[in-house]
């Protein structure tokens, strides 16, 4: 068994008295698409915010293993270093593009740290150093590659806010990919897309995962996307993990169906009892 790329252990996030995530543990493996699903308010985006450093978790450990074997504890890194040192990129549920900047500029901002080093912290850049010009040319080439890939190359010089919704979603993915991440966290990438756009998105995500060695962690409500592309599914409900496994197994899990469709009260008690026995067994096994 290889070391997982991302290992979340006993993650707990409390806001005052509210426990948004309670003792969550899961793993995401390299080269796989892991989906995080659950009903509204289950705490999926909170998990994302913990992984990408927007929240500091109350308890728990988030370990990211770099290709050279170095392990980084994401909860201890400052917010911006999670992208730069940890190489974790993300998109947002409500799209956050730099609307007044062109598509190309959006993708160049994503390569900020690389370019900043090349420009000698701007000092060489002000005097027009050749090394910076070369770095900028490479950055533009990378941006062009991702614009090509997401089918936005014709609009490279337009303002990002001018794009239609579906294109904005793809641009956000392209922007995240320009940081050359190991792990790409996508928060509902298919929300608001029509079925055709949704199919294109599936292809894009699969190609990102297979060709660029970028693993994907995905929050999604659109089950057709989740079931088609993900290798591994983690189901959350009320901040706790209720199922974890390959898509087909999860789809037929009674607890998952109960969480999504709702059940009668006595059934809940029955299920809880079942969970208690399973847990007791699990503990017994562990000992």
């Amino acid at each position: 068994m290889t070391t997982p790329l991302l290992k979340v252990e006993h993650l707990t996030m409390r806001f005052g008295g509210l426990t948004a995530i309670g003792d969550l543990s899961f793993e995401a493996h390299s080269g796989q698409i892991t989906a995080l699903i659950g009903p509204n308010g289950a705490g999926k985006t909170t998990v994302f915010n913990c992984i990408t450093g927007f929240y500091k978790p109350t308890e728990g450990m988030i370990t990211l293993t770099q290709p050279d074997g170095q392990k980084l504890l994401l909860e201890r890194l400052p917010g911006h270093d999670i992208n730069w040192k940890g190489r974790v990129a993300r998109t947002f549920q409500n799209i956050r593009l730099f609307g007044g900047m062109t598509l190309l500029e959006n993708l160049l901002v994503a390569q900020h740290n690389v370019l900043m080093n090349a420009s000698g912290l701007s000092i060489l850049g002000i005097f027009g150093a050749r090394s910076y010009k070369r770095a900028e040319k490479e950055a533009i080439e990378l941006a062009e590659y991702w614009l090509e890939k997401t089918g936005l190359i014709d609009r490279a010089d337009d303002a990002a806010a001018d794009l239609p919704y579906g294109d904005q979603r793809r641009l956000e993915i392209a922007r995240a990919m320009c940081t050359q991440p190991l792990l790409l966290c996508l928060d509902e990438p298919a929300a608001g897309l029509n079925p055709r756009e949704s199919l294109l998105l599936n292809d894009l995500l699969i190609s990102i995962c297979r060709e660029h060695k970028t693993s994907i962690l995905l929050i999604e409500h659109d089950m057709s996307v989740v079931m088609q592309i993900s290798d591994h599914v983690v189901v959350l409900d009320y901040g706790r993990k209720i199922a974890d496994g390959p898509p087909d197994a999860v789809k037929n899990d009674p607890k998952v169906i109960a969480a999504y469709l709702g059940v009668e009260d006595d059934e809940v008690e029955k299920t809880e009892a079942e969970i208690a026995t399973i847990a007791a067994h699990a503990k017994g096994d562990a000992r």
């Binding site: 990129a89 900047m101 900020h112 190359i153 303002a159």
Partner: protein, 471 residues
């Protein structure tokens, strides 16, 4: 008339003229009601100190007529125009094509005009007359252009609303004044003539350092809170300068600050002075012209650095920060240090401008660094269009030059009486201009944004898509 036509065709809609006429008539009635108590009688004292009332019926009639005609014209040509109607004043296509040809060269032509300005003023006004035009107009406007460009980095690019920018201007001015009057004479008296050139970079660096010191605690705040705290910092610096008398001279300020030399040659009437060395007759105009070119070069350096920085990752990060701070953080941009660089770069140019100001005036006191100065610099940036260098130039000329022009309008005294002082109306005019701008061009004179990089063609981005920043 309106009534009659309504009676004749009760079902028909009133025509535009009828509506406008009725509207104008009502406005004239309102004017009549207002003007009778205000304008109709003039109270004066006669020889025996009794109040006598002079009726002025014609003034009332004239005012009502002006309102009536004005309102009628507005009603006919401006209000309620059909959508898609032709614009009121259509730019002739010849003018448009001429402008399209001229526009790419506008910057060069403008720069040429600015470089030639003191020589033209000298030629037209002679050595005595030109000083006023070069000093009060040229240098004054250029100082504000430079301050506007400096603040533009903080407010226009990074989107951090800074209401205390004048603090850095003060730090620059006092750094130069104190080093040149106290430190240099005490340590290296021989360097006295070089004081300005030594202190200029020092003043800038000290101001940038204060920018970082003030920015560090402030930058975790956003929006209104940031604005209020920067305002407070500006006031704190001024109050320290007033109250720390041993250090800064308090209200009395610092006087006899050394004036800049022509790279080591002082501007004075002595044997080794500028005029004698170059075989010219001594005149204060040479110093003024020299100062003009110094501030011009400083301002151009500011513009050059700003243009370059915008195309560098740090400049793009500033603009990205203005657009969306959270997205910036998710892309690995250290938002704190990026904001601090914006604050420090803006403060650096404020410091340069401050050192120049102290050298030009020869005297500084805390009076020069009141909040109104910050407000005026901010007004220049907002009026010009946030982020636009060219807009700042136009706004500085309009605001600073406009106020100076008011002093020159002596002919108005012939109309309004000899005790009429047009400069007293400057705040009124300033406020009115601001209100008109908010109605006409709420995003400033030049609101569109030029992209910093492009693949195929450079398309300017409409101002409505560009965020203004939340601090």
């Amino acid at each position: 008339m309106a009534q009659a036509s309504l009676d004749a065709k009760p079902a028909a809609q009133p025509t535009r003229f009828e509506r406008a006429f009725k509207d104008a008539f009502i406005a004239a009635l309102v004017m009549l009601g207002l003007s009778v108590p205000i304008l109709a009688l003039r109270a004066e004292q006669n020889m025996s100190n009794e109040v006598i009332l002079i009726p002025r019926p014609w003034l009332v009639v004239i005012c009502c007529l002006i309102v009536f005609v004005g309102r009628l014209l507005l009603g006919l040509f401006v209000f309620n125009r059909a959508p898609g109607a032709k614009p009121l004043v259509e730019t002739p296509s010849a003018v448009k094509t001429a402008w399209a040809k001229f526009a790419p060269y506008a910057a060069q032509v403008g720069l040429g005009a600015i470089i030639a300005y003191p020589l033209v003023a000298l030629y037209l006004g002679g050595p005595q007359g030109a000083i006023k035009w070069i000093d009060n107009f040229g240098i004054q406007i250029l100082i504000y252009i430079m301050l506007g460009w400096g603040l533009n980095i903080v407010v226009g690019l990074a989107g951090l609303l800074d209401l205390g920018y004048v603090a850095f201007y003060a730090v620059g001015a006092y750094s130069y004044a104190l080093i040149a009057t106290k430190v240099i004479p005490a340590t290296f008296p021989d360097l006295g003539v070089w004081a300005f050139w030594i202190c200029l970079p020092v003043a800038g660096i000290l101001a940038a350092m204060w920018g970082v010191i003030l920015g560090f605690p402030v930058l975790r705040l956003r929006g209104d809170y940031l604005a209020i705290v920067t305002l407070a910092f500006g006031e704190i610096i001024r109050l320290v300068l007033i109250n720390w008398v041993d250090f800064s001279g308090g209200y009395a300020g610092i006087s006899s600050i050394p004036r800049p030399s022509f790279f080591g040659i002082p501007f004075n009437a002595s044997e080794s002075g500028f005029a004698a060395r170059f075989g010219l007759e001594f005149s204060p105009i040479y110093r003024t012209i020299f100062l003009y070119y110094v501030i011009l070069v400083l301002a151009l350096v500011t513009a050059f650095v700003t243009i370059r920085l915008r195309r560098l990752p740090v400049g793009r990060a500033w603009e990205a920060l203005r657009e969306d701070e959270i997205a910036c953080r998710s892309l690995g941009i250290n938002t704190v240090s990026t904001k601090l660089t914006a604050f420090a770069t803006g403060a650096l140019f404020g410091g340069f401008a401050g050192a120049f100001f102290a050298a030009r005036q020869g005297f500084i006191s805390p009076e020069s660094f009141v909040f109104l100065e910050s407000a005026q610099i901010l007004a220049i940036v907002v009026l010009g269009g946030m982020g636009s260098l060219f807009g700042v130039v136009i706004a500085s000329i309009a605001l600073v030059g406009g106020i100076e022009i008011l002093r020159e309008l002596d002919f108005l005294k012939a109309i309004f009486g000899s005790d009429f002082d047009p400069t007293q109306y400057r705040m009124l005019i300033f406020g009115l201009a601001m209100v008109l701008m908010m109605l006409w061009k709420p995003r400033g004179l030049i609101s569109h944004r030029e992209p910093t990089v492009f693949l195929k063609e450079r398309k300017s981005i409409s101002g409505s898509l560009v965020q203004e920043g939340h601090g």
